[in-house]
């Protein structure tokens, strides 16, 4: 099989990338989706709050997905469901498998990585205790409740205040469960503020910041959970334990980009984001392999995923039609002083779009600070932000015209400064 563009993943990133590639002149596109329907994890995110930026209205996850799915179908873009990509070679040969076609290979001119992310598991968190039934990642519980219609718990403790955990606190409550507490290791929440208001405060569910789970009881099914306060070293403080009789522990302790396929292809990954290192085209170190969405870095809002993926699709189309631009000067964007990383990492002033949105997250809560951008040593912009938190993405917009005024710089620095 041959396609100009293979998109690995039919979630919000893959869909938006496909639409953009089609709209930019590519007809031979194949989206490969492992699940039984397009839309990815949005299908189980039945709560509202999606699309404010993109559609200027508040949609649920399935509604947001359906708008993109319709566009894919209207454009006649090909897709394969229930199909697993088994391998991506660095020559962009994609090997995939499903029940109907068996195992097959596709030679692609370009590949967009849009595999999304997975949740950190109990094992990866090294929570001590027994290993009974009743420990779920929040996303697994979300799938069971929203897609399958089954309740995985009656009395629930949640570790981690990531958005899915907060959303599931409300969801489980509305479906008849009692959510006893949400414990968060860090001194701040990992989720959006409005989710704390709407999902915890509305239902009088307590949030314990700087707390973690120190014991899981029950050999067959969870029978009890003990949480304890942690000190600044994040180690439990003896004597601060709170015990809950409960049957369920949900985990919402962070998301990890799923880059196993990227690794086999030889894509270079960032140890901070666990996602590919990309340039202003969202292209990885492998020519013609692009990345977008949560496989690139974990986003807070799907709207930003769609924007980013649109760029990836557009850039992939450009690459297919015009080839790689002649070796151009590449500047590294240095994240320092509270900025954990940036996407993209590299920028080519000569070939970049007129504007480029650089997205990043901060490493701690900052109040009344500013995001400062330096071209070389020269301060270029300083934007005040009343509150910045690791749970929310920040951005800086770089202009090609402005960069052109600094032809001699070798890097760009983005940092957090006093306002």
């Amino acid at each position: 099989m041959k396609y100009d563009l293979v998109i690995v993943g039919g979630g919000p990133a893959g869909l938006a990338a496909a639409i953009a590639a089609k709209d930019n002149g590519i007809d031979s596109i194949l989206i490969i989706e492992r699940d039984r329907e397009l839309g990815g994890i949005l299908n189980q995110c039945i709560h509202n709050g999606f699309g404010l930026h993109t559609f200027k209205e508040e949609l649920t996850g399935p509604e947001y997905a359906s708008r993109f799915i319709s566009q894919v179908k209207e454009r006649g873009i090909e897709y394969k469901l229930n199909t697993m990509v088994m391998d991506i070679a660095n020559d962009k040969t994609v090997t995939a498998m499903n029940s109907e076609d068996g195992m097959f290979t596709i030679e692609a001119k370009a590949v967009v990585l849009a595999m999304g992310c997975r949740e950190r598991s109990r094992g990866a968190l090294n929570i001590p205790g027994y290993r009974p039934a009743g420990i779920f990642s929040a996303g697994t519980a979300q799938r069971l409740v929203n897609i399958e219609g089954y309740m995985p718990g009656r009395r629930v403790v949640i570790l981690g205040s990531g958005d899915i955990g907060l959303i599931m606190a409300r969801r489980m409550t509305l479906e008849g469960a009692k959510v006893l507490a949400v414990a968060e290791l860090m001194p701040y929440s990992g989720g959006l503020k409005r989710n704390i208001v709407q999902c915890l405060d509305d239902f009088d569910i307590p949030l314990y910041l700087s707390h973690t789970v120190v014991d899981i009881e029950g050999k067959e099914r969870v029978e009890g959970i003990t949480i304890a306060e942690v000190g600044p070293d994040r180690k439990p403080i003896p004597g601060s334990e709170i015990h809950y009789d409960c049957d369920t522990l949900l985990l919402s302790c962070g998301l990890l980009p799923e880059n196993e396929l990227s690794k086999t292809a030889g894509v270079e990954l960032s140890p901070i984001t666990s996602g590919p290192i990309v340039n202003d085209s969202l292209e990885t170190n492998i020519e013609g392999v692009f990345a977008c969405g949560n496989v690139l870095h974990v986003h807070d809002l799907v709207d930003f995923v769609s924007q980013e993926a649109t760029n990836a699709g557009k850039n992939a189309a450009k690459y297919i039609l015009e080839g790689h631009p002649a070796a151009a000067k590449e500047l590294e964007i240095l994240p320092v002083d509270g900025v954990r990383y940036t996407v993209p990492r590299y920028i080519r002033p000569e070939v970049m779009d007129d504007t480029l949105t650089v997205r990043f997250r901060v490493g701690q809560v900052f109040k009344n600070c500013a995001i400062a951008t330096y071209f070389g040593d020269q301060l270029i912009s300083k934007r005040k932000r009343p509150v910045m938190a690791p749970g929310e993405m920040e951005q800086v917009i770089l202009k090609k015209s402005q960069l052109a005024e600094y032809p001699d710089i070798t890097n760009i620095t983005i940092k957090i400064e006093e306002a």
């Binding site: 509202n48 959006l192 509305d202 929310e392």
Partner: protein, 121 residues
């Protein structure tokens, strides 16, 4: 004079809002970055409302459940009533996005509608 504090849920910014009330009447809203914050704060003081989302079973569909939501906000105090009202609702496939799942839920005048299409098996 009375003041109340809220976190705006209108968008991810989550502005910290301060509302000043005089005899139950909102006299001032501060802390908002957009008009929606003002509107939200006034509403939270007088008539807090929420969208309720859920999912209900589908008979004869390709998938077992269809997601749904109240088409508009309903009073916050009725959240649980709305959830309970959906307890025994079963849709017949096919379901189209926007189809009414339950009309005039809990006498609110608001319909619960499907947020997803489900094809028949």
């Amino acid at each position: 004079m009375e003041t109340r504090e809220f976190t705006c849920i209108g968008c991810p910014l989550g502005c910290s809002l301060k509302v000043t009330l005089n005899n139950g009447e909102v006299t001032e809203v501060t802390g908002n970055t957009c008009p929606n914050g003002d509107k939200y704060a006034r509403k939270e003081c007088t008539n807090p409302t929420r969208i309720v989302t859920s999912s209900v079973r589908v008979k004869g569909g390709k998938i077992a459940m269809v997601s749904c939501k109240t088409k508009e906000d309903i009073p916050k105090r009725l959240i649980f009533d709305v959830a309970h009202a959906l307890e025994n609702v079963v849709m017949d496939a096919p379901v189209a996005i926007g189809d009414v799942v339950l009309s005039n839920v809990c006498e609110t005048g608001v319909d619960v509608i499907a947020t997803k299409s489900v094809e028949a098996r």
